[in-house]
């Protein structure tokens, strides 16, 4: 029984890895051979599909847009949420408890609820079809989760350090900047990377808010690429290359910070 279970687990692992490897390998083959022999391996590692996807299909612009929207919005999210979370975790009052709850309630709201009002609001200030507008939306939307995560994180840090610093005459703002932030680097990095993953993959809002090709982020570019295929004929080679462009950065982040990520996403859930 145990052995069967373990065998099954390894089979699932194998399937997952094979699936990913297959996707990457197909990106090096041309469409005709992919369709003729979907199990085939590339004969040469030609980068033609990638070059084509990057230049002709303009995944380059989309990748650039995705990168900067993701990075800017994630940095700003953490920069805005961290002081708030610090205050809420340290101040014991009914006001701060109420505010914490107020932030956390946002976790339960499905995005589609605010989709249309956001579109109307951004439209009235001419921020539809603008990456600045998308950035703003991502920051606002990430507040509940980031404040929730970081509040929990700051609570887990000991009070002694701050008390010692305060005894030495440091003002609370300085305590936060010079004592807490260095200690909290780990938690803030986790929060940042979680936002990077969320914003990189976000689809519904970017499809709604971005209309012109030069503003597309990767998910929108991918959808429009698939859509064009139905007119211009299948280009599976290019599509597989596009899939690699969206997946491989996530794989890199995961390899780099994997343990921190799984802990950030699972720890604190059990509490």
């Amino acid at each position: 029984m145990r052995r069967l279970g373990a065998g099954l687990m390894w089979l699932i692992v194998l399937l997952n890895v094979a699936f990913l490897a297959w996707m990457v390998l197909q990106a090096f083959r041309d469409t005709r051979s992919i369709l003729a022999t979907p199990w085939g391996l590339p004969k040469t590692f030609s980068l033609e599909n990638f070059v084509e996807a990057w230049t002709v299909s303009d995944f380059a612009t989309a990748a650039w847009n995705s990168t900067w929207v993701t990075l800017v919005s994630s940095v700003l999210t953490v920069a805005v949420a961290a002081p708030a979370a610090y205050y809420l975790s340290r101040q014991e009052s009914s006001l701060s408890r109420g505010l914490t709850l107020f932030f956390v309630l946002g976790l339960g709201v499905p995005v589609q609820v605010i989709l249309i009002p956001l579109f109307v609001m951004l439209n009235s200030v001419e921020l539809v079809d603008s990456l600045v507008g998308l950035n703003l939306v991502y920051i606002g939307l990430s507040m509940p989760f980031t404040v929730f995560l970081l509040t929990g994180f700051f609570r887990s840090l000991p009070l002694e350090l701050e008390e010692a610093a305060a005894l030495d005459g440091a003002s609370p703002a300085r305590v936060f900047w010079q004592v807490m932030l260095p200690v909290a680097k780990g938690g803030m990095l986790t929060a940042f990377v979680l936002q990077v993953i969320g914003h990189w993959n976000e689809t519904l809002l970017s499809v709604t808010l971005l209309h012109s090709t030069e503003n597309y982020t990767l998910p929108v570019a991918l959808i429009s690429f698939v859509q064009q295929q139905t007119y211009s004929g299948a280009d599976w080679g290019g599509l597989f290359a596009g899939l690699c462009i969206i997946v491989i950065p996530m794989l890199a982040v995961y390899v780099w910070l994997g343990r921190r990520l799984t802990e950030g996403l699972t720890l604190g859930m059990g509490k």
């Binding site: 932030f103 499905p110 609820v113 009002p117 956001l118 606002g140």
Partner: protein, 318 residues
């Protein structure tokens, strides 16, 4: 408090200063409310909370997005209830929530138990977690390729003598296929969370079980389940919230059939909201669209409150 006025090796004038302020850190910190919490709160209010109320407001109107809004009361909701398309979409969302949800939970719990004392568990865990970081669009596209008439599945079935394989991507088969894909994509994430719960159970409970001669089922029923119950509760809430948002994996099948809109048999509540507002073919119906989204919000709220009720029991300290 006494410890705060103990002489320290710091310069003499700081001691009376902080002592004079008496619990000063907390006092001074209170004044940081506006600079520290203000920006986060402002962004949250403007970009999140106000839009929620905006959605409720719009849902009581007939509005094409520009021009005048006409107050129609609960008309939009009444029409939604009668709209077979909305009922189907909501039904699909509920299928994802419950059918896929139960499948995910049974599988992840089983996997968490298998992984508990398996060699190589860390490798397994890191591999099965990865799909959580991949955009669901990718899975939608790959499934579309694997199951297309000349795709991987059929090329595997051919040598087995299946010459008339099912029309995997036909409209009536597509949604079940999406459901299976969701299970494949999501199980690893919940396994990881449940594993964290299972790992917290101290070894001596298992040793006690062995001493008392409990069989595997009794151990599961009386030790593992009660001690992981709260983690289950959290997972159930997480899945409820995330399943109601499911959009892109459905949407991509509309892009690949050329019409831009996926077959109605596969619509979820989120797809219904999006199409009703932004499809471009008909006059946008912002009122009806937001009403359908408000129904989703209501659904999540009711389910989360219910779940918290049902899952609540005395916390077991261990």
């Amino acid at each position: 408090m006494a410890t705060r006025v103990l002489p320290r090796a710091s310069s003499p004038e700081t001691r009376p200063k902080s002592a004079r302020r008496g619990g000063s850190l907390a006092d001074q910190r209170r004044r940081l409310l506006v600079p520290f919490v203000g920006p986060a709160l402002l962004l949250y209010l403007v970009l999140f909370v106000i839009p929620i109320f905006g959605a409720v407001w719009i849902s009581f109107h007939k509005w094409a997005g520009s021009g005048p809004m006409a107050w129609t009361g609960i008309d939009n909701y009444r029409q939604l209830v009668q709209d077979p398309l909305f009922r189907q979409s909501l039904g699909n969302t509920l299928k994802l929530l419950f059918v896929v949800g139960i499948a995910i939970f049974v599988l992840s719990f089983a996997m968490a138990l298998i992984l508990r004392d398996m060699a190589g568990r860390k490798i397994v865990r890191s591999v099965i977690f990865f799909p959580h970081l991949v955009n669901a669009l990718v899975y939608g596209i790959l499934v579309g390729f694997i199951f297309n008439p000349d795709g991987l599945t059929n090329s595997l079935l051919k040598p087995l003598g299946v010459n008339n394989p099912p029309q995997w991507l036909a409209q009536e088969n597509l949604f079940p296929l999406i459901m299976v894909t969701m299970v494949w994509m999501t199980t690893g994430y919940y396994t990881t969370i449940l594993m964290a719960g299972v790992d917290r159970i101290p070894v001596y409970y298992y040793e006690d079980c062995a001493l008392a001669g409990a069989n595997a089922w009794q151990r599961l029923r009386h030790v593992v389940l009660p001690l992981t119950w709260d983690v289950f509760g959290v997972c159930a809430v997480l899945w409820t919230i995330s399943s109601v948002k499911i959009f892109e994996i459905i949407w991509i099948f509309g892009a690949s059939n050329g019409s831009g809109v996926p077959p109605t048999q596969t619509w979820t509540a989120a797809v219904y909201t999006y199409v009703t507002a932004f499809s471009g073919d008909s006059i946008p119906a912002y009122g009806a669209a937001t009403a359908s989204a408000v129904v989703s919000l209501f659904l999540v709220t009711v389910l989360v409150v219910l779940l918290r009720r049902v899952m609540r029991r005395d916390v077991i300290e261990f």
